[in-house]
């Protein structure tokens, strides 16, 4: 019964989404206040019914209803409760339902927190979001119904993929999706502006917080995904340039460009058509990511199961949305374009450079992701692009971007007084060069060109990001001296600096050592002694594991006991590596247990990862910067 209620609620949601799409758009076109007022209520109703549907699927999981195909395939009686919940979004059908829920949630949030937006804009934004909801609801109902029954019901389920039985992965997809889906709001604002022909500074002010919130969730989602890959896949790397990772990274890069372009549109009324194009592109890349992940067009570790009907549906939807939006852009954007020029030594220039470099970076990632596909189409030749290509290609736009960041932050709108640059940036520049050379030499005893470039860039960004908050603090007028917007920007850039530092140091000084080890034996890695004390069997709720107890010492000093495991999950029978990690702020000691070798010893992978935490700390500081900047008072004007 519960699954049928869920299914029916989804159908009702579709009906309400249709009302939410058609009536407010018509109302805005005809200037009919009654029709426009439907927007709010249709949105709340739509959200309510999707939520009911989502709850029904969750209940089916919690009550082990194996007469539902999706539950039978992705859960099991002995699965711990928290993973029964996260199993809801562990595969295609359920994660699509979550996508739909989040889209409805974002729309309801726009209807609720409308600030001082005029009714027409609200109606259009909600209407466009309704059109997107219709597409996704049809997709779910026609090709991917999570409530399909399995008759006769299974006695027990096939279990959740053990890789996904992990707290990091339970929350990684929701965060990522909040970000992905959130860019639909920026997209809807862009379409609304083109429909009405009104795009002014206020439009940018209304669009900015929604974009930043989506961006900060995407930032956290990607960071968590990277963290999960680091400790759960047992490879010790943190980014693999896998097509699915790229699928989330491209909207992030484009979204970052969009945030910066919106700043120019709000403050100076420039870059209007460019901002529109970025808003369309960012969301289109989110859709493209969905397409790549769910159509099986590209082989990847975490792609969902292949199904050509689904692939065609998403492709058709993608085509309608993107072609529709770009056709509208070709038609309406010329009228919105600003022809005013600006001075070369101005913040506008730096933000333009930021945009260009980020778009180049996105394009390179996109090319790398699609290259195997395109080359095959052109001449039937088969190529494969691995991480080495991305690592080189991606750094080309990124290195100048990071250096320019420091200048951009301290450049005035309209026209910069060059003398001020020298005064403000003198100390950060000296600090960056000195620390950039000394830091690797002093702590790690080695130096190379890339190391100096990476460390200098990182220190440069950190130092320049701190200048403004430091000065306002010195002036003793505290928070009054710096707006939340500017503080948020400084914090986000600081996060970027920390990230660059972590990435540079861990790439250069990380040590990976694969050895064979017997009980009682001691190995030395990175001047630390690792002793394998014992191996024992451990019983988990739905797995059995072999656990190694490894004691780490630095000479006489005890550092930690690390317990890596090899788990065998009872239903799917596969072996999973559960790495043992001893994290401290400036380094991780990472131990993964391999197989038992013929002579009774065990293969062990020991890794020393200096400053790897800075990657994720940096990403979360960026997200924090986003949060601080959206708390700026000017975004919360209420309607007069």
């Amino acid at each position: 019964m519960i699954p049928e209620i869920g299914h029916f609620a989804l159908i009702l949601a579709l009906a309400l989404a249709a009302c939410q799409a058609v009536l407010p758009l018509l109302g805005a076109h005809r200037d009919d206040a009654a029709l426009m007022s439907v927007a709010r209520y249709a949105t709340f109703g739509h959200f309510l019914f999707v939520a009911i549907s989502f709850v029904c699927l969750t209940i089916a999981f919690l009550s082990d209803d194996f007469s539902v195909l999706y539950v039978a395939n992705h859960s099991q009686l002995a699965l711990p409760t928290q993973y029964k919940i996260s199993a809801v979004w562990s595969a295609h059908e359920g994660s699509l339902l979550m996508w739909i829920l989040l889209l409805a949630g974002w729309t309801a949030a726009v209807a609720q927190f409308r600030s001082d937006m005029p009714d027409k804009l609200v109606a259009r934004v909600i209407g466009v979001l309704g059109l997107l909801s219709i597409g996704f609801l049809l997709f779910a109902l026609l090709t991917s119904n999570p409530f399909d029954r399995l008759i006769p019901a299974a006695m027990d389920g096939g279990d959740l993929n053990p890789l996904l039985q992990d707290p990091g992965l339970a929350i990684h997809p929701p965060l990522l999706y909040v970000g992905y889906v959130g860019f639909s709001v920026a997209f809807a604002f862009a379409i609304a502006a083109m429909l009405s022909g009104d795009l002014d500074e206020n439009w940018a002010r209304w669009t900015r917080p929604w974009t930043v919130v989506a961006w900060l969730f995407l930032t956290m989602g990607i960071a968590l995904g990277s963290w999960w890959a680091y400790y759960e896949l047992g490879w010790g790397g943190w980014w693999f340039w896998d097509p699915v990772e790229n699928a989330s990274f491209m909207p992030w890069l484009m979204g970052t460009a969009l945030i910066h372009s919106l700043a120019v549109t709000e403050r100076r009324g420039l870059f209007k058509s460019w901002t529109l194009l970025l808003a369309i592109s960012t969301f289109s890349l989110s859709l493209l990511g969905t397409f790549l992940v769910r159509s099986g067009i590209i082989v990847s570790v975490h792609a969902f199961a292949t199904d050509p009907t689904r692939g065609f549906f998403i492709l058709a939807f993608l085509a309608v949305v993107v072609i529709g939006a770009l056709a509208l852009y070709a038609w309406r954007a010329p009228a919105l374009d600003s022809t005013a020029g600006f001075n070369a030594a101005s913040r506008e220039t730096f933000l333009l450079l930021n945009n260009v470099l980020l778009v180049v970076a996105t394009t390179l990632v996109l090319l790398g992701t699609l290259a195997p596909l395109i080359v095959e189409m052109l001449n039937g030749g088969k190529i494969s692009i691995g991480p080495p290509w991305f690592e080189v290609a991606f750094l080309i736009p990124m290195i100048p971007l990071v250096f320019l960041m420091g200048f951009g932050m301290h450049t005035a709108w309209r026209k910069q007084n060059e003398g001020v640059w020298f005064k403000v940036l003198k100390i950060p520049a000296i600090a960056a060069i000195v620390i950039g050379v000394v830091l690797p030499l002093l702590f790690y005893g080695r130096v190379s060109l890339m190391l100096v470039v990476g460390c200098t860039a990182a220190v440069w960004v950190v130092a320049t990001a701190l200048v403004q908050p430091y000065r306002s603090w010195r002036r003793k007028d505290g928070a009054a001296g710096i707006t939340r917007s500017a503080l948020g920007m400084s914090i986000a850039h600081l996060g970027m600096g920390l990230f660059v530092l972590g990435a540079t140091i861990v790439s250069a000084f990380g040590i990976e050592s694969d050895r064979a080890m017997r009980i009682g034996e001691t190995l030395e890695v990175a001047d630390l002694q690792f002793q394998l004390r014992e191996l024992r069997e451990v019983q988990g709720p739905n797995y059995t594991a072999i656990e190694a107890v490894v004691e780490v010492r630095d000479g006489a000093e005890f550092i930690a006991t690390v317990r890596p495991q090899k788990r065998q999950y009872l239903v799917q029978k596969n072996w999973m590596t559960e790495a043992g990690i001893h994290p401290t702020w400036n380094k991780d000691l990472f131990i993964a247990l391999g197989d038992q070798l013929g002579d009774g010893s065990w293969s062990v992978r020991i890794q020393y990862k200096p400053m790897i935490r800075f990657l994720w700390i940096g990403a979360f500081v960026m997200a924090l910067g986003g949060m601080v900047s959206v708390s700026d008072r000017r975004y919360r004007k209420s309607k007069k």
Binding site: V299, G386, A516, D595
Partner: protein, 174 residues
């Protein structure tokens, strides 16, 4: 041309590529060698560079040739199953370690086990290209005369093995 039209044009060009991409489902790509002898090669083995692994080794028995590399995520995914398969002794598994680095590949074998009878070390990727490798992992089924019978792209697992390989091997054994 109007610059505002450019994005639209770019996307309109991309869409047919995607449609073609959908139709040529990578896991169903036929190999041009199916029904023909496996491409000739001779490679030093991964474990011992002084030994070689060549087309001649594939004659006289039904065998698998798995194209893999340490940089390939799907290869790690399927490795557990290959280990399992190797333990059952149903079929000898040979490998071509494609565009890899030797120390990393040896680490990989140390850490996760070695399911292969022999692994040819194809450092510059020539042999992989001769075999028409689209992207690792790929697994070829070779009959006793060294003829390519079937090609599978993507990570293998038990279900896919039962479905795609077991019936074909049974047919060959008749």
């Amino acid at each position: 041309m109007n610059r505002f039209l450019l994005p639209l044009v770019a996307v309109v060009i991309m869409i047919p590529i995607m449609i073609l991409g959908l139709q040529s489902d990578p896991s169903k790509l036929p190999s041009q060698y199916i029904g023909k002898p496996a491409p000739e090669f001779s490679l030093p083995t991964l474990m011992d560079p002084s030994k070689t692994f060549s087309t001649a080794d594939l004659k006289g028995q039904i065998s698998l040739v798995n194209i893999w590399a340490t940089w390939c995520g799907g290869c790690r995914t399927e490795h557990g199953f290959l280990m399992e398969l190797a333990r059952t002794n149903t079929i000898p598994i040979y490998a071509i370690d494609w565009r890899d680095k030797r120390p990393e590949a040896l680490n990989f074998m140390n850490q996760l086990g070695n399911p292969y009878v022999a692994s040819g070390f194809d450092e510059d990727g020539r042999v992989g290209i001769d075999w028409g490798a689209y992207g690792a992992p790929e697994t070829f089924l070779i009959d006793a005369d060294g003829i390519v019978v079937y090609r599978f792209t993507g990570p293998l697992n038990r279900a896919l093995w039962e479905q795609e390989f077991v019936p074909r091997i049974a047919e060959l054994q008749e």
